[in-house]
């Protein structure tokens, strides 16, 4: 009963604060301060004439970064995978796999952020005079910090971006320094049930290397960093841990792995060292990459780490 009675009050308070915000801050219906960078500014070769107020983000990673640096109020549309934070999930959506110039232009954006170009999209938008940033997948944590910095500059959230980079750096250091020294822990990282994996050379592999972990796929690198392994190879390598990044996408689990032909003989399966990762965390390079690191460190090194 009490909770029910509280709802209208809370709603009223929310409406009031929104109204206040709307009065005080113009179009950005957020409590954050207005963007404070210098404009025009050139970021990654793209000229941005004024502080963007209508940003279209075509990748979940960048959406998460934008909201973390308090530029969320400037975002008008996001791709179908942008579901975090909650405000981002509520923005108008589009399909980033089949993205055309017209779709993007229909949101009347003053800044577009892409993680990949499905084909001349950037050029097409440039022809319409819409500034577009293409920030591809990173290969190291430093690249993520670089992208956060670039997005800070592009949105006028320079101080917020610097703060986020500092927070993340500190958090990563915290996790890494708590790792006990010892021999490298081997792991098999599963991207999908057809046994695609990743090497220590990749972004995720590089993060895990900071935790004293080495991918068994290193011996099978085909140059891409993401080789498809054979079942034989995985059984013979007998890794210490199995990390599953295909829980949400492909319905895998510790149980389904144990049921695969021959896999019950693996030490990791027998000892219950199969870690089910959050696919979304594992695929994105936003601020929550720290959470992924904590999750793996906790699972691999147990209670010894924070």
């Amino acid at each position: 009963m009490n909770r029910k009675a509280l709802v209208p009050v809370a709603a009223l308070a929310l409406t009031a604060s929104l109204a206040l915000a709307a009065c005080g801050e113009g179009p950005a219906a957020e409590t954050a301060a207005p963007p404070a960078g210098t404009f025009p500014v050139e970021v990654e070769g793209t000229l941005i004439p004024a502080a963007p107020q209508r940003i279209v983000s075509a990748a979940a990673s960048h959406t998460e970064i934008l909201y973390a640096i308090e530029a969320g109020g400037q975002v008008v549309a996001t791709d179908q995978f942008s579901d975090y934070p909650e405000e981002a999930a509520g923005t108008p959506k589009f399909d980033s796999f089949n993205l055309g110039v017209e779709t993007v232009a229909s949101f009347d954006p003053d800044l577009v952020i892409l993680s990949f170009d499905p084909g001349d999209l950037q050029a097409g938008l440039a022809a319409l005079g819409i500034p577009t940033l293409l920030l591809g997948p990173p290969v190291a944590l430093e690249d993520v910090y670089g992208q956060i910095g670039a997005l800070g500059q592009a949105t006028g959230r320079i101080a917020e971006a610097e703060r986020l980079i500092e927070e993340m750096t500190t958090a990563v250091e915290g996790v890494v320094t708590a790792i006990p020294a010892g021999a490298a822990i081997t792991y098999y990282y599963e991207l999908d049930p057809t046994l695609y994996s990743l090497t220590s050379r990749t972004f995720i592999g590089g993060l895990l290397a900071r935790l004293g972990m080495q991918s068994i796929a290193d011996a099978a690198d085909d140059g891409s960093g993401y080789p498809q392994l054979s079942g034989e190879f995985i059984l013979a390598a007998d890794p210490d841990f199995i990390l599953l990044a295909d829980i949400l996408c492909c319905g895998q689990s510790a149980a389904s792995v144990a049921a695969r032909p021959g896999w019950s003989s693996l030490a990791a399966v027998e000892a219950g060292r199969v870690v089910e990762l959050d696919d979304d965390l594992a695929q994105r390079w936003g601020p929550r990459i720290v959470d992924l690191l904590r999750e793996v460190a906790g699972a691999v090194h147990g209670g010894e780490t924070g």
Partner: protein, 346 residues
């Protein structure tokens, strides 16, 4: 017109050679793999399972699992798929008297592709419903082709059926592409299914395919004499009391059953059904009494060998088996075509 002669001449030798080839690639397949295991130990491990024999192979638990749970089921499955596809291809070529006929002629591939794509999109690539969906799609497409061929008139004559198959395949492929486009995040799963996969199979898949493969191959083998009669022409066959349409229906159903099963567990593996029967025909004679049994053995050996390549060439990474069958099968077929003096036809 006497189809007995070539059979008498090459039959027993051909069968022995094909059987020897199959046994050789099977032994090679169990000994060689992505992981190097000492051949002596592998053989000891195999012998150890024989009744009243106990040999310590010295293999670890994981290494023993590699042999029993990965290599052996995969070899058996490759052999079953290869045998089924080659038999179906030979039967199709005979029943339609068309050298370009392969098991996918009447829309099996497109139907299975649509079924598998729908399954992958709705339940994920690893879901057990995917093989069932692919099987249903394959059978559904062929039934539709038959229905369409009947409606189009021509009494389900060979050419009408082939054209109906083209229409059905085009339609199913269009729907499949559309569904795939709407779910672009599953493109890789769909694509890897289309390229064929034996990489993650176990005894479960062998159990799924075996009944279909056996029934299909046995039915086709039983029809090898009738295929010889059909080869001289439909009208001539009718005068000999053989109903071309009825034989065609039974052969197509049997081939479809086997092909649908093979496709459901192994994905779309091209080229086996087209090339193996032709190679056999060019090397051993034009009678289906020779072509069918030799295609069964040759198809099994060819696919086991192709899978061996898929597993080892880039080891520990894998190459899609469909790439190997086309890459090796194409030039191999060209050589056979070049060195043989026999042409197509009865």
């Amino acid at each position: 017109m006497n189809p007995e002669k070539p059979l008498r001449r090459v039959g027993p030798t051909g069968l022995a050679v094909a059987l020897g080839l199959l046994i050789a690639v099977l032994v090679g397949g169990v000994l060689v793999g992505a992981v190097g295991l000492a051949p002596g130990r592998v053989l000891a491990e195999l012998v150890d399972r024989l009744p009243w024999v106990s040999v310590d192979s010295g293999l670890s638990r994981q290494e023993a699992a590699i042999i029993w749970d990965l290599r052996l089921p995969r070899l058996v499955l490759a052999a079953l798929v290869g045998a089924t596809l080659a038999a179906a291809g030979a039967a199709y070529q005979g029943v339609f008297r068309n050298p370009l006929a392969d098991p996918y002629l009447l829309g099996v591939a497109a139907g299975a592709g649509l079924g598998a794509t729908l399954g992958i999109v709705s339940a994920g690539a690893a879901s057990p419903i995917v093989p069932g969906a692919a099987f249903a799609g394959a059978v559904g497409a062929v039934l539709l082709t038959y229905a369409l061929g009947g409606v189009a008139g021509g009494g389900r004559a060979g050419t009408t059926l082939i054209l109906a198959g083209v229409a059905v395949a085009a339609f199913f492929t269009a729907v499949q592409t559309f569904v795939q486009q709407r779910h672009a995040d599953t493109v890789r799963e769909v694509y890897s299914w289309i390229l064929g996969r034996l990489s993650t199979v176990g005894w479960t898949e062998v159990g799924l395919l075996a009944p279909y493969a056996v029934v299909s191959v046995v039915l086709l083998l039983l029809h090898r004499r009738l295929l010889d009669v059909l080869a001289v022409g439909e009208e001539e066959a009718e005068t000999l009391g053989v109903g071309a349409a009825r034989v065609r229906l039974v052969v197509v159903l049997a081939a479809t059953l086997g092909t649908a099963g093979a496709v459901a567990v192994g994905g779309l593996i091209g080229f086996v059904g087209l090339v193996v029967p032709h190679a056999v025909r060019l090397l051993a004679g034009t009678s289906y009494r020779v072509i069918l049994p030799l295609s069964v053995l040759g198809g099994a050996a060819f696919l086991v060998a192709a899978d061996l390549g898929a597993r080892t060439i880039l080891a520990p990474a894998e190459i899609p088996i469909g790439v190997i069958t086309a890459f090796v099968g194409g030039p191999f077929f060209a050589v056979v075509l070049r060195t043989s003096r026999r042409g197509w036809g009865p």
